[in-house]
Symmetry: D2
Subunit: 138 residues, 4 copies
């Protein structure tokens, strides 16, 4: 039920000629949020990879309600929407001030260094459980 929260200043290079942030940037922000949640849970992703657990993305989705531009700082809220023995789904909100400008999700399988599916280590499953969204939340 806990969320991980981190701020990120829009980079100039992330904007496009429409004078808004390019939509692919939202995936980079989701990734920053996801990495932040894993580190806060005690499992920094570089150490996870070093110990042989990778999280390749198998599904991603995003709905954009508003845009961001250079000069804005966004807040990235990350939760876990679904946690299974072999996969994990993160959910994200991107806020500009109090306004949610985008929501999204990414689903990952656990894999070894050769990208073969495996179970999530038990201690990681336990540490992530606290971030799982309850049914009554969104």
């Amino acid at each position: 039920m806990k969320a991980h929260t981190i701020e990120q200043a829009v980079r100039y290079a992330e904007t496009d000629r429409m004078k808004v942030v390019h939509h692919s940037t939202y995936l980079l922000w989701f990734e920053i949020g996801r990495m932040g949640l894993l580190a806060a849970a005690g499992f920094p992703y570089d150490q996870l990879e070093a110990s042989g657990t990778l999280f390749p993305v198998v599904v991603f989705a995003c709905r954009l309600n508003d845009s961001a531009d250079f000069g804005d700082t966004v807040t990235i809220e990350t939760r876990i929407a679904n946690l299974r023995s072999r996969s994990v789904e993160f959910s994200y909100k991107i806020l500009k001030g109090a306004k949610v400008i985008a929501t999204g999700m990414t689903r990952h399988i656990a894999a070894d260094a050769s990208l073969k599916a495996k179970r999530l280590p038990d201690d990681l499953l336990g540490a992530l459980a606290v971030y799982v969204v309850a049914n009554s939340e969104s």
Copy 2:
């Protein structure tokens, strides 16, 4: 029912330390396919923007079935899944050889230069109709 097809060599910079193409790259490939379809339909997107019709992204989604790496060339197939007076939804397949490694979609509203929603111009609607996926296709 027509699809637009274009090939793209994987760029080295598009890979990540997992030794596969970073998932955000698929959105860039979708964009290349979408721009190619619009140009093939007689409405190159740079001219569309110049004439006051922009296509900001409001939803995107992607499912990855396999990975790509530097040295691969992928094929981007683009169709129109849904065409309305004020929005258009593109669907994409990314192939490596004969294998579909990813499928996805992006939904766009038509907007003017200040990103305010507008109707798609009638001639554009007509030109895009031929790319709309029939119900029996996927």
Copy 3:
């Protein structure tokens, strides 16, 4: 002689299959440092652009002495190497801990919204002067 300093965590997407940060990322870090210096000098770049002064890049260069990887946090040090009435040259150091892993520079002309060369506004010239590297420094 003052330097602007800001930290930046390496993003996973910034790495490549060589398991180091792709060299193009250094330009994005330089940009973050440059924008930070301008903001610290009282001229946030989004406001500069809004007021009609743009800084398009005309030259960039970088020497890499070591690499960075996901899991690292780098420090970006930015100074002004040369300040003229119509152009400005920034110099950068990228550090990993105490070690300088890269040095670089970017030269910019001042331009109006149509990218035509112009003079830097006098108040901006004054505010930037304090960041100019003295001859005896590097």
Copy 4:
């Protein structure tokens, strides 16, 4: 003295809010040219890496004389400016039609998979020699 030439359409995502291609994109174009030259010389870079020869970047530089925008197709000309037993320097020209809009260079050491410096394999040295710029050319 031979040059390798390849065309590349500007990607929408490569533009920024200045309505030109972001300067970091030139490094990606240089990389496409470099990879094309290596493949044309009979040493595709993915195979080079697989055989244990990597080309990490140690220096890069670029001068921009004009800009490119979405809708443009650029030509990337790549030559070898300097070829030594342990390093190679590529030079690049980016053209928009007949106009050179940017020139640049990258210097690389030869390294093994752990990024330790090594000699370039003799057959590679021989194959690259034909692309070395003569003194009287630029």
